[in-house]
């Protein structure tokens, strides 16, 4: 009888511990949105994170701008770093731009019909990306470090993140390219944390995971 009571007590303890773990985990889980210009490497980075911590990539990448034209989501990603665990969902958003001209897609070999269709979908994707700013609890703002970072899209995203008090990291991506300059991004946004990486080659990716745990845990 006493033995049975003990087992019940153990089961109850275990049940409440699991419940507590679940509640704590749920409280700590964040939704991290990947934002930035088209072709800045958001999906490449989302794939790198998913490959490292889930085992499979998230989305399709290509050289043609606006390849990601709707939001892709990976739930229940867990990063373990320095004894800390960060539970989060990845929200890979379409690139944000102030203009979409179908003629730009023609040079990548798309037919006029395909280019126009892509442009239409891209405009819808940008609206969806902006709407997701209401739901994300953290952001990785991905910038192509070979390009001028002082663009209206970056300024608008940062302004909205600051106004909504959403924590974010600036990712200076493509540091594997000779013309890249992460320092230029740091100089333009000195008040924010800039993490230089190459998402394609996973260069400095461990540093990013450490910064993510620090920023979003």
């Amino acid at each position: 009888m006493k033995h049975t009571k003990n087992i019940e007590l153990i089961i109850m303890n275990s049940f409440f511990r699991r419940l507590l773990d679940k509640l704590l985990r749920r409280r700590k889980k964040v939704k991290i949105g990947l934002y930035g210009h088209p072709n800045s490497g958001k999906t490449t980075l989302a794939n790198a994170i998913c490959e490292d911590w889930i085992g499979t990539p998230l989305g399709v990448i290509s050289d043609i701008p606006h390849e990601t034209r709707s939001v892709y989501k990976q739930e229940e990603v867990v990063i373990e770093k320095d004894g800390y665990k960060l539970y989060f969902d990845i929200i890979d958003t379409p690139g944000v731009a102030t203009k979409v001209d179908y003629k730009n897609f023609l040079r990548y070999g798309l037919s006029e019909r395909e280019a126009k269709e892509r442009a239409k979908e891209a405009t819808k994707g940008i609206i969806e990306a902006i709407k997701w700013l209401d739901d994300v609890t953290g952001v990785l703002l991905v910038m192509d470090s070979t390009e001028d970072p002082l663009t209206q899209a970056n300024i608008t995203i940062i302004g909205n993140l600051e106004a909504r008090k959403i924590p974010f990291l600036i990712i200076a991506n493509k540091i594997d390219l000779p013309e890249s300059s992460a320092d230029r991004i740091s100089a333009v946004f000195p008040q924010h944390t800039v993490v230089p990486i190459s998402a394609l080659h996973k260069e400095n990716i461990e540093q990013l995971y450490m910064e993510m745990v620090r920023k979003f845990k």
Partner: protein, 122 residues
């Protein structure tokens, strides 16, 4: 388009307008091919709303979106101890008209396309 029309709006002209009114006015004029120069800046949420509205208005053939550029200035606090950058001017125009923009500290140079020729604005 026969010429380049530029509208300059003082901060006073905008202060009584709601965000919706400001964005509607900007989109309407930019779709007509005008370039707007605003004194001051839009708020971050107005900028996001402006991008959203622009995306809804893009019709692929005639209106492909907007270009926005800002010219910032240093502003000192009342006692002059601290300095911060604020937006002095905001320039918004149709993306297919605003072609080249060069920006340096306290200087912005823009080349707008009018038909087959180009107009330079500094």
């Amino acid at each position: 388009m026969e010429g380049l029309k530029m509208d300059f709006l003082s901060s006073k002209a905008l202060e009584d307008k709601s965000s919706l009114e400001k964005i509607s006015m900007i989109i309407e004029r930019v779709k007509d091919g005008d370039i707007l120069v605003l004194e001051g800046s839009l708020t971050p949420s107005e900028e996001a709303e402006l991008i959203e509205t622009t995306m809804r208005e893009i019709d692929i053939e005639n209106f492909v979106g907007i270009d926005i550029h800002t010219l910032e200035k240093d502003e000192r606090s009342f006692f002059g101890f601290s300095k911060k950058r604020t937006v002095g001017l905001t320039i918004i125009g149709p993306a297919n008209v605003m072609k080249t923009v060069k920006k340096r500290s306290n200087f912005l140079s823009m080349i707008a396309k009018i038909g087959d020729s180009g107009a330079s604005v500094h």
